[in-house]
């Protein structure tokens, strides 16, 4: 599984893992039933501590994205297309809300925020 983390990123390490695995599941790169590496395997691969990796898995499990079957391992949960769309929207909304929060802090009017949002949309082509 292609995931990388960096302690220089201000986002906590476990969250970096959560974000990347979540994206892989929501975009379908990881499919329902796909096995995930064990916690200790992934920790070694990422050069991240066991507890950090464990915490990322707990978070993903709490979000319903993965399931752990005792003795068998950890697998991608079967979410169904509607849930996937809903979760995608939730993730994006969280970021948009953060943008709005910053805009409010800087005392921009709703009109201006709206404009900025459209500019951001136009400025970014399909490249991700």
């Amino acid at each position: 599984m292609d995931v990388t983390v960096s302690p220089n990123n201000p986002v906590p390490l476990y969250e970096q893992i959560v974000e990347q695995v979540r994206a892989k599941i929501l975009t379908g790169e990881l499919k329902a039933g796909d096995p995930l590496p064990s916690i200790r395997q992934l920790a070694g691969q990422l050069l991240a501590s066991v507890i950090t990796t464990k915490r990322a898995y707990s978070e993903l499990e709490a979000e319903g994205l993965i399931i752990t079957r005792t003795g068998l391992g950890t697998f991608v949960a079967d979410l169904g297309p509607e849930t996937i769309i809903k979760l995608k929207k939730e993730v994006v909304m969280e970021h948009l809300e953060e943008g709005v929060r910053v805009a409010r802090q800087l005392e921009l009017a709703n009109e201006e925020i709206n404009c900025l949002f459209r500019q951001a949309l136009d400025g970014s082509d399909e490249r991700v």
Binding site: L13, R40, S49
Partner: protein, 243 residues
């Protein structure tokens, strides 16, 4: 399940000009603990007490469930210890050194040692004195790992190493604990070593343990007041007398 491989309980030791005061912490089996503090804080003294190279004035040290003082030979065979200054005979070759060290361990695995040397790119025919600092550190690691220890105790293993070798070493520590049965205590004053691989961090300042906990939990608490708090920030706060 969460049995401790190392327990220090109120360990005190006085030297002229330096006191270790009531050092307590626990390392559960299967995890990596970073032991961090400024130079001169008492890291090496604590490790020497754990290894029974000095005796505490008071307090209790339990290693792999037993007292070191009365089970020294058995316990030392189950520990891989890398001191801060590797005491090798500089005129002797790597192979000779391995034979010399290997004789002390019934579990010594020559094949495993050879494999580690190849992996670390250490020439067994070279004299130890001719090796670079980084290569000597790798040799010390290979010697410590070749007898399949359950507990690795490393005193400043990364100090003086270049970033590439440092990362390799950290990755080896994770591989070492990958089966969940083996544990690592390593001291360092380089906080970035801990940001990745340490499950637990114990901070020592001025001969006293000021904090010892899961790294994630400590950082989480610190982030409440500083969203980008790092181990380095915590060490700075503790070193300046804060909590």
């Amino acid at each position: 399940m969460s049995e401790n491989v190392l327990t220090l309980d109120g360990v005190c030791k006085s030297y002229s000009g330096f006191d270790l005061r009531g050092v307590s912490f626990e390392l559960p089996r299967g995890y990596i603990m970073g032991f961090v503090g400024p130079n001169g804080a008492g890291k090496t003294t604590t490790i020497r007490l754990i290894m029974d190279l000095a005796r505490p004035d008071s307090g209790r040290i339990t290693v792999l469930g037993k007292q070191m003082a009365t089970n020294q030979i058995e316990l030392k065979r189950r520990i891989g210890y890398v001191p801060e200054n590797h005491e090798f005979y500089s005129d002797m070759t790597v192979s000779w050194t391995a034979q010399f060290v290997g004789r002390q361990y019934p579990n010594w695995n020559e094949a495993r040692f050879g494999e580690l040397l190849r992996r670390y790119d250490v020439d067994p025919r070279k004299k130890v004195g001719a090796l670079s600092k980084g290569t000597r550190a790798k040799l010390a690691m290979a010697l410590a790992l070749a007898h399949h220890p359950e507990l690795l105790i490393l005193d400043e293993p990364t100090s003086g190493l270049d970033p590439v070798v440092r990362r390799e070493l950290l990755s080896d520590l994770l591989e070492f604990v990958a089966d969940g049965d083996r544990s690592v205590l390593f001291s360092t004053h380089i906080t970035s070593d801990l940001e990745r691989v340490a499950d637990y961090v114990t901070f020592i300042v001025n001969g006293q343990v000021v904090a010892s906990d899961e790294r994630e939990a400590m950082l989480e608490r610190a982030r409440a007041s500083n969203p980008t708090a790092s181990i380095e920030d915590l060490l700075w706060t503790y070193a300046k007398g804060g909590r």
